[in-house]
């Protein structure tokens, strides 16, 4: 670490002596500045925590920033073209979505329509309609994939493993469940029998892992070739065969396939809509604006604190005219006198920042402790480092602004008139 120069060290030593000699004044300056710095810390911490909470799952749901998603209409030849283009590629994958019921045959799933457990989206006839009795079955959204979707949506592995696309397709489809599905299966003791929507044939899938995909609805992921193999190929892969079937093509930002795919789809009259994921950027822009507005308000409170430091600083220099003149008489340069005053106000700003950061971190801990059960994002929230940095910067700025004028006054004190008095 680079050591301070002689002047820097002198300023620090004398500044600390000055603060120790005027503890009450320093405390009063800190009190006047505290709210301003605390406001900056709170705004920055709040914005960071909100941003983190909002961004935490956005990539899982919307996709990696800059990647593209192609939504396909219900054209008969689209699936064939998509499978043909995506075959063997890692920069583009197809995702066929369909509904499936896993559980006891001949019963209604506990979440008809694939709704989150405990919410009724009204996807079925309802018990009063006289349909099959509700039983140990869960309706899931089955996403059949041609490749590793985590390149586009970085699902967090919670248990087991992800789908292995390098091996030969298994006869019994291997499924990776999301946390909502895994929880539902555990809760309702669902037997491992799966049937696709509108089909009678059942299969016993193999559950190989659990991921967090930030989706509250029960979802399962499988290899498309394994689903096809079980389901006589064409039918399952036809995205519009079921009531909720769809086909999405996920493309990396740099893949050269996009244009090829669009051209081929256009040739068969398919309507392909490509959407580039920019949700993070848009959200960040909105958050930035809100943060700036609040920081401006915090800045105003900080200015009041600066006025307090300035006031105390000017009074202090007025009281210490003899001291500064004497210091000049023994050879202290004007610049160092200004440095001494600035050091004192900067240290005051830093102490205030430390107190405000401590108070902010403590308050956040209490909020997390008492409100964590009600608001999950508060459960394991930690004090963001950038709020600490913002607090220190606010303290330093306040120290400089509040100390500049007193520092100039101190530097301009004449020796002769004071020492002669």
């Amino acid at each position: 670490m680079r050591r301070l120069s002689g002047r820097g060290r002198s300023a620090l030593v004398i500044g600390i002596q000055g603060i120790r000699a005027r503890k009450l004044r320093t405390l009063l300056s800190m009190v006047s500045l505290f709210l301003g710095v605390l406001a900056v810390v709170v705004v920055q911490a709040g914005a960071s925590i909100a941003e983190k909470a909002m961004f935490a799952d956005i990539e899982l749901q919307q996709g990696v920033e800059g990647s593209k998603t192609m939504y396909l209409g219900a054209e008969p030849n689209t699936t064939k073209i998509v499978l043909d283009v995506t075959k063997g590629r890692h920069d583009v994958i197809a995702m066929v979505g369909m509904q499936a019921i896993i559980g006891e045959p001949g019963v209604r799933p506990v979440n008809e329509g694939g709704s989150p457990i405990g919410e009724n989206w009204g996807g079925g006839p309802g018990p009063e309609a006289g349909g099959a009795p509700a039983g140990q079955a869960v309706e899931v959204r089955l996403s059949a994939l041609t490749g590793d979707v985590r390149v586009f949506r970085p699902y967090r592995q919670r248990d087991g493993q992800w789908l292995d696309f390098a091996t030969v397709p298994s006869v019994a489809p291997r499924l990776v469940l999301n946390e909502a599905a895994a929880k539902a299966f555990q809760q309702y003791h669902v037997p491992a029998q799966m049937r696709m929507n509108g089909q009678q044939q059942t299969v016993t899938p193999r559950f190989v892992g659990v991921v967090d995909d930030a989706n509250p609805s029960p979802t399962a992921y499988a290899r498309l070739d394994e689903v096809n193999r079980w389901n006589a190929g064409e039918q399952a892969a036809a995205p519009n065969g079921g009531p909720s079937g769809d086909l999405q093509v996920l493309l990396t930002a740099s893949t050269p396939v996009t244009q090829v795919l669009q051209t081929r789809l256009k040739a068969v009259g398919a309507d392909a809509y490509v959407d580039t994921v920019q949700s993070r950027e848009e959200m960040a822009k909105e958050l930035r604006l809100i943060r700036l507005i609040f920081l401006a308000m915090a800045g105003l409170v900080l200015l009041i604190g600066v006025a307090g430091i300035l006031n105390v600083g000017l009074a202090s220099v007025g009281e210490r005219v003899e001291e500064f003149a004497l210091r000049r008489a023994v050879g202290t340069p004007r610049l160092l006198l200004a440095g001494i005053v600035l050091t004192e106000t900067l240290l005051t700003g830093m102490f205030t920042a430390a107190a405000a950061i401590g108070a902010g971190a403590g308050a956040l801990r209490l909020v997390s402790m008492f409100l964590g059960d009600r608001e999950p994002f508060l459960a394991d929230v930690v004090f963001p480092w950038d709020a600490g940095v913002a607090g220190i910067i606010a303290g330093l700025i306040a120290g400089i602004l509040g100390g500049a004028v007193p520092a100039l006054r101190a530097a301009g004190i004449p020796i002769a008139t004071v020492m002669r008095a």
């Binding site: 120069s5 002689g6 002047r7 060290r9 002198s10 300023a11 030593v13 004398i14 002596q17 120790r20 000699a21 003899e322 001291e323 004497l326 210091r327 000049r328 008489a329 023994v330 050879g331 202290t332 340069p333 004007r334 610049l335 160092l336 440095g339 004449p414 020796i415 002769a416 020492m419 002669r420």
Partner: protein
């Protein structure tokens, strides 16, 4: 031999009044190393102004000021501060001790002035040596409020001596002290001249002036050699 201090035709006029007032009107002065000089004169005769010029607190309007043969009357403030630190020691009538610091810290003030940096141990050694020189090393940890006037002035002298100056400038250092204590203070200042330090003492006290090598009378802005009867 090169003079320690040599003033030639120093003029200083106080401005900012209706009539500018000439305070120093062609002052000539030579002080050799180890020499002690007393400057006497009536109140308002310009003794303190002369001391301000000598101590580089103030600049003369005209004239030359040589220190070891080097012209220093027009130095920029930065260099003047460096010279004040390295070459001069100051003792004032009012002791100007900082009440929140101990005697040792008050003395150390002259070492912690941004002109170089001494390690703490070396600082401590020098401070204690300076306090020893003026006979109050046992009071090093006392704050000014617990010291008598004479002790406080000796702390101020230790502060002036701690950097081993070549010139000691004392502006009525005994003015606030009784006769006996004043004599002790003059003893302490005199002792410094034995180590080759030049001493310029501004005083009203004829007895203290008589102990100096020479006595000069400042009258009408001019210094005259004076023989004390």
């Amino acid at each position: 031999m090169t003079a320690l201090i040599e003033l030639g035709g120093i003029r200083k006029t106080l401005k900012g009044q209706k009539q500018p007032r000439v305070i120093l009107d062609g002052v000539d002065l030579r002080v050799d190393p180890g020499e002690s000089v007393a400057i006497v004169g009536r109140s308002g005769s310009g003794k303190s102004t002369l001391l301000s010029v000598l101590g580089l607190f103030d600049r003369p309007d005209e004239g030359s000021y040589l220190l070891h043969g080097q012209e220093i009357s027009r130095l920029p403030e930065r260099k003047a501060a460096r010279l004040r630190s390295a070459e001069f020691g100051f003792v004032f009538q009012r002791f100007f001790l900082l009440k929140h610091l101990t005697a040792a810290q008050n003395v150390a003030m002259a070492l912690v002035n941004g002109q170089g940096w001494l390690p703490r141990r070396e600082r401590r050694r020098r401070v204690l040596a300076a306090l020893e020189q003026v006979g109050i090393v046992h009071l090093a940890k006392n704050k000014p409020a617990k010291l008598s006037g004479g002790e406080q002035q000796r702390v101020a002298i230790a502060r002036a001596l701690v950097r081993d100056p070549r010139v000691l400038l004392a502006d009525e250092p005994t003015g606030a002290l009784d006769l006996e204590t004043g004599t002790l203070v003059i003893d302490a200042l005199h002792a410094a001249t034995e180590r080759g330090c030049g001493l310029i003492l501004v005083t009203h006290d004829r007895d203290h002036a008589a102990r100096m090598g020479r006595t000069l009378d400042l009258q009408n802005g001019v210094l005259n050699e004076r023989v004390l009867a």
